[in-house]
Symmetry: C2
Subunit: 428 residues, 2 copies
């Protein structure tokens, strides 16, 4: 832990720095996998699955009866918990639906904006030690609400060639249309180009390691959209003297256990709080099963004292955290003035893990300062807006002259002609 007291603005840049991720040395591999999957389709996907996941599969598609069987293996308690979480996520994302926007900008010129679903999307769900079935809920529920027709899910098979039962249960519950046992770069490449068995999609969502992240970035070169650039998870807590040091420490640790490169920051206007949180972290850390990961992340964590709420807010907006917890007497000041954050957790009884699972907000959020420009995943992530316009004869007479003058000034005579030919007909 680094304890930093009253940093100057010059220090802010260093405070806001994330650990550098070396990605250049894997670009060659990602390009190579893309090229082969593009050219050879399923054969290449099989080859890379054997190479990277050490498993040979008869088919990538998870059959309906395999999904049914897996669902039976999920405990009733977990099913109940998932159902509660899914209901909250559905309520919150359903509330994000918007109406068609219609305006007559000038008499006879009717303009409107309507949203339509992205027809075919792909979800990437990592495998490994933490089976992220919660991410299935976060992506598939809004996709279904938006009206996406094809919701494809790819997740790497384990050594036995299977996908975690809870992931399959969540996929079925949320209306995923097809689940494929494919992971890593080859999964992203397959959804980018399409193969004999895996469909091409228009947008790919979901977290992943640096290989998956780079693969998603490469996918954009081939015309596939992605949810957002990904990076290691982050939490910034602002706690004044009204906060509970043990609660704050538990939140910082919940972030730290994600990975050794997780970002954990405390900002406080109370030196006492900084000291107490540091102590509480040590106390709680020792009993965690993932303490080795968490303690390495905690080593890089920063506990920062600043004298005023105002300065704290400015530093937080500069840092632009993915998750932002605020436990403060003047919480309204932070709520009203926060400019850059993925999701905000307010008060002593709102742990970040509530948003990770069950409050209803989405947990796919912009990391690495990207909350300065990106939203977290929300209902609109699965929709695109189309504008429409219908102009009457009177409407064209009202705005046609302006179009002619502007088109001519831009040197685009044919643009002008398209108006002139109509105005001439109207006059005759």
């Amino acid at each position: 832990m680094k304890i930093i007291t009253e940093p100057t603005r010059i220090d802010w840049e260093t405070i806001s720095e994330r650990p550098t991720q070396a990605i250049n040395n894997i670009e060659g591999l990602v390009n190579e996998v893309f090229e082969q999957v593009k050219k050879e389709g399923d054969a290449a996907v099989s080859k890379f699955t054997e190479q990277f996941d050490k498993v040979e599969l008869d088919a990538f598609l998870v059959a309906d009866n395999a999904i049914e069987k897996a669902c039976q293996r999920v405990s009733e308690a977990l099913k109940k918990a998932i159902t509660l979480a899914a209901a909250n996520i559905e309520i919150f994302h359903n509330a994000q639906k918007t109406e068609k926007v219609t305006v007559e900008t000038t008499q006879g010129v009717k303009c409107w904006q309507e949203k339509r679903p992205i027809s075919s999307i792909g979800l990437y769900i990592p495998g490994g030690t933490a089976p992220l079935f919660s991410t299935v809920l976060m992506l598939a529920i809004p996709a279904k609400l938006a009206g996406c027709k094809e919701i494809v899910l790819c997740s790497p098979p384990n050594a036995n060639g299977n996908i975690n039962a809870a992931i399959l249960y969540a996929a079925k519950l949320c209306g995923v249309t097809k689940v494929y046992k494919v992971g890593g770069i080859q999964a992203v490449a397959a959804m980018t180009f399409g193969t004999e068995s895996i469909p091409k999609v228009s947008k790919i969502f979901g977290p992943g390691n640096q290989f998956v992240t780079l693969a998603k970035q490469l996918a954009t070169k081939f015309g596939v959209a992605i949810d957002m650039p990904a990076g290691p998870s982050e939490l910034l807590v602002f706690a004044d003297k009204s906060a509970n040091a043990a609660f704050v420490a538990s939140d910082l640790l919940s972030q730290a256990e994600h990975g050794v490169d997780s970002q954990v920051i405390l900002i406080s206007t109370s030196k006492e709080m900084v000291k107490n949180v540091a102590l509480e972290i040590q106390n709680q850390l020792s009993v965690l099963p993932r303490k080795e990961i968490a303690s390495e992340a905690i080593l890089n964590s920063k506990l920062i004292y600043v004298p005023t709420n105002k300065e704290a807010l400015e530093l937080i907006n500069e840092y632009a955290p993915e998750h932002f917890i605020v436990c403060a007497e003047e919480e309204r000041f932070f709520i009203e003035n926060i400019e850059n954050a993925g999701s905000v957790f307010i008060g002593n009884y709102t742990p970040e893990s509530a948003g990770d699972y069950a409050s209803g907000t989405n947990h796919t959020l912009p990391t690495n300062g990207f909350s300065k420009a990106y939203s977290g995943v929300n209902l609109d992530s699965f929709l695109k807006s189309i504008t429409f316009q219908k102009i009457s004869k009177i409407g064209l007479q009202n705005i046609g002259g302006a179009i002619e003058i502007m088109a001519e000034a831009e040197g685009l005579q044919a643009h002008k002609n398209a108006v002139s030919i109509r105005l001439k007909e109207i006059r005759n």
Copy 2:
């Protein structure tokens, strides 16, 4: 012109293909400019401006008095036209404002979503033969409405070291905060990294040639967001026998004059209409000032007869046009069922150039089939949504158990602890 009659579904893929753009051979140059601008700042920007724009500048920033003087050179007629267009664009984008979304997902669990402006944005406006002051309106007006604090505009200087007067007039009218005489790759690099005189921004908007397009794509690797991937402009017209062949031809030509790689497609359920539009194109083409560009684009154009509206619609959704004009008796069928398009122009008196300039809709739209996943620029392009949650003791009691079970099932004990430690305190 290629006239295609009743294409089969196998032909659709070829019909939907855009001209391939070779970009690999300029990647080295783009990387090199980025590296140098990152390292040397203004000095590198100066060097590349001399090299590519053939002009030496004392300063990149356009001074206020230079903007004032330029404004005086814009004709009153053009000012009036720009003012009319700006008013319509403002009305339509202002109508896109949304309210805060608030829901209590479970008793005691309050979640809401609020939008906040992207603080600092950059607009790229190309120079060259067509001074696109209309694009200034399309980007700066919604940016200002969204509340972006810093709106930076970069545009290449001409041989005399100046920017077109109408561009400066539009920038002043719409509240652009700073205008810089910098173009090409070096402009995008400067807004990505920041230099001594040009600020770093969080998101870059605007069209450009293949150098600018590739530079914007590279900017995303350095954490800067972009509006969307760009490609040559496109128009697809659906016209049944009720359409006016001369009007349709004028629209196709207005698209064709943009560049030799512009995409122009007619789909019709009337063989007579296909024939008449082909004739009208030849008639109108001969008198255009940009006829050399337009005729080359027209060479690659496709006039397609299909027997039914249903088949037409399916092909249009597969093509996913940037601009879609529909002149049809059954226009409602197309309006209701169009899935993929940037902007839709309805009826005989709605030329595409209306949307380019003055109807109020935005003209920065997804090309190259990207309307399958991307929206055109709209008010939300300048905002990001942040989610908030505030949970009471009762709320945490209601959802805490579910979080504990899910966190444990994902192997994330510290996530569970953050809830358990609070529930324990509540019970005591």
